[in-house]
């Protein structure tokens, strides 16, 4: 049974159809990425899954329990890390954690124990008594994630947790999420950074204009849109003869050149590369450099929607 099942969920704000018949599921222990640009409907979808927003139609089940804004049982299975730093900045990390632990129904002593455990997990034990306002951005982000772990959730929802974060802190956050998933927590991760989705997610749903446009593993998505790998080779002097030799190779779909650079399209660059290099050597072409570009989710997104993720 999936830990989360979203079926035909829609949400409208006035004339704006924010989410339109969205369906997907997350298996136990799986990390699912919801990838889309700003305004695609990610946060609205997350709002309905966390039980903050009422949905207009469709159904959501969490571990088989019908989920709604009033269902405390299903809410208690979810850990939520919002995009913003939803913290009391005048309180200490410890006080923040204890307060939210009580809201998740933990007793005073349970809250104390869990708080210390989470502080250890997010590496803030030595700064636990300091006001959050004294924290660096990265530390506050880690605490923001820690608050989502207080109820030992079956499903952890992270809504763009790396927005506005420096590269070092981003790396640390991604590592933390990776550690959690290795511990068996199911994760729903929304982002508009395709490299994060590629790095973390077992499966990805691409959402745009409130609709899921495509879904699957990265490789499945790439193959769905039929994108080729690109091989860029810089030669000493690429003549027409060399280009003809390359065009004659069976795995090569397309050959073009600009200056000293030759651009080849192939369905699988890793398999074709030895043949390409051998052919060029035999043809006497001096090779200066070789670069392989595999199609990524950005390319998939571009292909599906006609625009970039960050446009």
């Amino acid at each position: 049974m999936p830990i989360l099942e979203v079926r035909g969920v829609s949400k409208r704000y006035g004339k704006n159809q924010a989410v339109d018949d969205v369906s997907f599921f997350i298996e136990e222990g799986e990390t699912y990425g919801l990838l889309g640009p700003n305004g695609a409907g990610k946060s609205t979808t997350i709002g309905m899954i966390t039980g903050i927003l009422e949905r207009d139609s469709g159904s959501i089940t969490v571990d088989g329990i019908e989920h709604s804004v009033t269902n405390r049982k299903s809410k208690s299975l979810i850990g939520f890390v919002p995009q913003e730093l939803a913290l009391y900045h005048d309180l200490s990390a410890r006080d923040n954690l204890r307060f939210f632990a009580r809201l998740y129904g933990l007793s005073k002593s349970e809250a104390r124990t869990k708080t210390e455990e989470v502080l250890e997990t997010v590496g803030l034990s030595d700064r636990a008594g300091e006001a959050v306002s004294q924290f660096s951005g990265g530390m506050a982000r880690r605490l923001n994630i820690g608050l989502g772990l207080l109820n030992s959730p079956r499903l952890l929802i992270l809504d763009e947790p790396t927005v506005g974060v420096d590269p070092q802190s981003r790396n640390s956050i991604l590592e933390s999420v990776h550690t959690l998933t290795r511990g068996g927590v199911s994760v729903l991760y929304t982002t508009h950074y395709m490299e994060e989705a590629e790095r973390l997610c077992d499966r990805v749903g691409i959402i745009e204009a409130g609709k899921i446009r495509a879904e699957g593993t990265q490789r499945e998505l790439v193959s769905q849109v039929g994108e080729d790998d690109t091989v860029l080779i810089t030669l000493d002097a690429p003549g027409e003869r060399v280009l003809d030799v390359l065009r004659a190779l069976e795995p090569i779909d397309e050959v073009s050149s600009e200056g000293t650079q030759v651009r080849l399209l192939t369905s699988n660059a890793r398999d074709a590369l030895p043949l390409i290099l051998d052919t060029l050597t035999r043809a006497g072409a001096g090779i200066r450099s070789v670069e392989v570009q595999e199609p990524d989710l950005e390319a998939v997104f571009l292909s599906l929607t006609g625009k970039g993720l960050r446009e």
């Binding site: 903050i52 919002p82 913003e84 939803a86 309180l91 009580r102 809201l103 109820n151």
Partner: protein, 383 residues
């Protein structure tokens, strides 16, 4: 249980902020003390500059010292004028060097009373000085006039006149109704109630910033994503505002009683007036916190509304000094109802029955503000 957890957290947050320790704990008492002084907390002082030799001048000063409500100090004329000008003493009296000689010669002696025109306490001192001087003049005139029919000296005639009891007109003074400011009421008892109302309201309203911050930072969404109902969150935040208002009110109430001896009157009635006013304050805070878009906007509105309603409701100038129209307008504010209830309890020993109408009106305000606040705030949580 969860509303209590949320409410107590709000209260703790107020006292974690060191700035609030000054504004909530210290400033109200400082203001009660200062306002007490302004309402006449100290004894008025009359500085007297008189000739050094004993005699008729000393006799006049002794007469002035008879009123225990006025302190009489002796100093030279220059120092006296400086102190009056600086407001350190309320009035000065100059008795000229030739005072004794002129009187004994049967001539007119002139005294000079020095006051500042804007010093209200000086008027009281002036009245006392004039009454004493008038009485002394009568005795001196009698001693002077009887010289033509008696052979003894001026001092003997003056002593004789002073000891003579003359049956005059007996004036019986009675009062009807309740005095606005009863005799014996301490000045701090006048200052503390309006300041309790002013500070309770402004403290509660400024905590509306916390609601705006919680809304804008996503803390409310995070709370609602936990297994906590919208009702519990709304109730918790409202309870938090009430606890903050109540803490502020009780601090001033008990603090002023202990530090300045303010007698707040009938305890059950006072408790209910305080509770009702705290409910009004928490409702206003919840509503403002739900309506304001930014922390800056909330703070500006909180200060503006608190000072505006406070001034209109008699917490800065006594309601008794308002004209009829302004008094009618004042009673559109909850502050005026609170002020009037405390006035009845403190000045006129009113009972719970006497202030039930006030409590009823305050609860009416609270019901309206809390209903609107809860409605708007719930919308902010679930939006």
């Amino acid at each position: 249980m969860k509303p209590l957890i949320i409410g107590v957290l709000n209260l703790r947050r107020v006292f974690r902020d060191r700035t609030n320790i000054f504004f909530v704990l210290l400033l109200p008492f400082l203001m009660v003390f200062m306002m007490g002084l302004m309402y006449g907390g100290g004894q008025p002082v009359l500085a007297v500059s008189s000739p050094s030799q004993a005699g008729l001048a000393d006799r006049l000063v002794d007469a002035l010292e008879e009123d225990e409500r006025i302190d009489v100090l002796h100093m030279d004329e220059g120092e006296m004028r400086d102190l009056v000008e600086g407001g350190d003493v309320q009035a000065g009296l100059v008795i000229p060097d030739d005072y004794e000689d002129r009187i004994r010669d049967g001539e007119r002696a002139e005294l000079e009373l020095v006051t500042r025109s804007d010093d209200l306490a000086a008027a009281d001192v002036g009245i006392w000085v004039r009454s004493v001087v008038t009485r002394e003049s009568s005795l001196l005139s009698t001693a002077q006039v009887t010289g033509s029919v008696r052979d003894d000296g001026f001092d003997e005639r003056l002593e004789n006149a002073s000891e003579t009891e003359v049956s005059g007109i007996e004036v019986e003074v009675t009062t009807s109704g309740d005095a606005t400011f009863p005799e014996g009421l301490s000045s701090h008892s006048l200052a503390a109630p309006p300041l309790l109302l002013l500070y309770t309201f402004i403290t509660a309203l400024t905590t509306s910033l916390g609601i705006v911050q919680a809304r804008r930072s996503g803390v409310l969404r995070r709370m609602y994503a936990s297994p906590t109902s919208a009702g519990s969150i709304v109730l918790g935040e409202a309870l938090g505002r009430f606890l903050i208002a109540l803490t502020q009110a009780l601090l001033i109430l008990f603090g002023s009683a202990l530090m300045f001896g303010v007698d707040w009157g009938d305890l059950p009635a006072t408790s209910l007036v305080v509770t009702a006013f705290c409910l009004v304050s928490s409702g206003a805070s919840l509503l403002l916190g739900s309506l304001a878009r930014t922390e800056g906007g909330a703070l500006a509105a909180a200060v503006g509304i608190s000072l505006g309603a406070g001034a209109l409701g008699g917490t800065m100038l006594p309601l008794e000094s308002f004209d009829e129209t302004m008094t009618t307008i004042a009673f559109l504010t909850p502050h005026a109802w609170g002020y009037d209830a405390f006035s009845e309890l403190i000045r006129n020993q009113a009972t719970l029955t006497d202030v039930l109408p006030h409590i009823g009106v305050l609860l009416g305000y609270a019901a309206v503000l809390l209903t609107l606040g809860v409605w708007r705030f719930r919308g902010a949580v679930t939006a």
